[in-house]
Symmetry: C2
Subunit: 353 residues, 2 copies
Amino acid sequence: MVSYIGVRRIREIVQRVGLGQVLRGMAEAIEADFARWPEFEKVARIASHSAQGVIELMPASDGRRYAFKYVNGHPANTARRLLTVTAFGVLADVDTGYPLLLSEMTFATALRTAATSALVARRLARPGAGSMAMVGNGAQAEFQVLAFREIVGISEFRLVDPDAAATAKLVANMRTMGFAPGAARVCAATEEAVRGADIVTTATAAKRRAAVLTPGMVEPGMHLNAVGGDCPGKTELDPGILLRPDVRVFVEYEPQTRIEGDIQQLPADFPVTELWRVLAGLAAGREHADQVTVFDSVGFALEDYSALRYVHELALERDIGEDVALVPPGANPKDLFGRIAAPGALRAVQEAA
Amino acid sequence: MVSYIGVRRIREIVQRVGLGQVLRGMAEAIEADFARWPEFEKVARIASHSAQGVIELMPASDGRRYAFKYVNGHPANTARRLLTVTAFGVLADVDTGYPLLLSEMTFATALRTAATSALVARRLARPGAGSMAMVGNGAQAEFQVLAFREIVGISEFRLVDPDAAATAKLVANMRTMGFAPGAARVCAATEEAVRGADIVTTATAAKRRAAVLTPGMVEPGMHLNAVGGDCPGKTELDPGILLRPDVRVFVEYEPQTRIEGDIQQLPADFPVTELWRVLAGLAAGREHADQVTVFDSVGFALEDYSALRYVHELALERDIGEDVALVPPGANPKDLFGRIAAPGALRAVQEAA
């Protein structure tokens, strides 16, 4: 049987473990898996584009466990009261090829994206960073804000979004999460939110070449966490930012980010550093206090592998989940027919004969 | 909500519709979809190989529906009383990116493989074909035998397998399916089974360069349905067969078959005909009674698309299936946090704050 974690079960896990702990645990899992990067078979995700959006498959394997995620990105869904991004995934045993876990990943993706952002910022932001501008207050914003509090220790957030209702929702949810009233400052413009911030997170959804941040907004020593530019034709950073001499750009998996990240606007030989090399101690992170570090985040299959194995571990530990018969149970493996041929089916076959 | 067809539900469908009718309906769906081949976005499947086997993802889309299948192939599983091939798949709406159907596909793959074999043989075998050699009597054999009876009108089967228990199982299941006692002849050697047969089907599982058939066994006018050679390093036909001057080779999707099919043993410019061109009337099938036609079958994502849409249609028509919450239900799409944040989760977050 395959373990199944649907929407109700992931809520139960979050409820029992606590959202902050789930974010910290997921960050630990991702950091540990990135540190053993060479063990993984890696491919850029397989995308199917349409006028409305994109559907992607994201596989990764370390030769022991195989994981893949199905994820869509449809910005116009919001107007239909549907989610822009939904996802689910499977963890399988490489040795037998049998699936072990089928899990919802709409929530798990939001969690792993925020956990990845925060663990990267903990490495790259200047020491003592205390403030973050949150540009884009949609579905990902709460997870970012909470992960940066839990993992980076950020206590001051400046919120900005052209949709005032989105910002109001974020403010209300931050209150629910126990943030002090002064922790969230609503800003009228991106310039205002960004000015003096240690970290700037962009998480916007429009599928176009946007310039959410322009070079004039970027101050020495900032860390930019660019989450929303993650698809061909969908960018957030004015390329002038990336070309500043004081900027260093960090990516998950270079071949994929060249296609999907903000660096798609730059020549293919623009220098970038793969994140795992920093985590494994093979490359420098931030080199001095005035350097501008940019995480050109697109979301890589390895993060989903980590998220699925962590969810699986939590589910086993706490005995949460249910079994589904997605695969026929054991018996004579050469007699597949005998397992589908219920008496009625045979009757129908015999009558036709 | 997503419709879910697990192992129990696919059995219910087969029971209510009848296995013969399911095979005929699936063949019709596959034939109709192959005939509109240019409408589909096609990619070779994405394979992850290990010492024990392979795990593959197979996506296809016509811009209205998107389908993918997860499938493994692990020949050593049989010794562990596990299935060599297990599978499941998803049908999704391209316009929103939301999944519509999650279905088991271990059975559906067996059905669509046999349905494809039979619809191709109906086009390519010589008219009036009445006998078939079934080389390899494992999990796929019953589905092949039944599909060839239902769709091609084959009435005489010669069965051969080094595993006598596998053949005995096939004979018993054929009796259950209403085949006349004389319809199945057990043969001691492949030569004996093949001699004089109109059609030769090979469905063997060993992941190696096998030569299940050799050039001396092939007679003028035969149709070869080579099902088992479907993976790099896994072939069934001696390359000498394919190089005979009276042979024409038909494939599903040329870029994939070049890698996975029996033609992997031949130069990249070896001439083949894509099946859809025959079905659409753009290329000739069999040209004369003595020609040897070879279907170098590997299994293409379009067949899984057809199988999923057909299973979905049957499930809707007969109101079979159950709903699963694989994706969060509608509400404010920008408030993903509000949907996961059950009271307990918030309490845990607040206590930590």
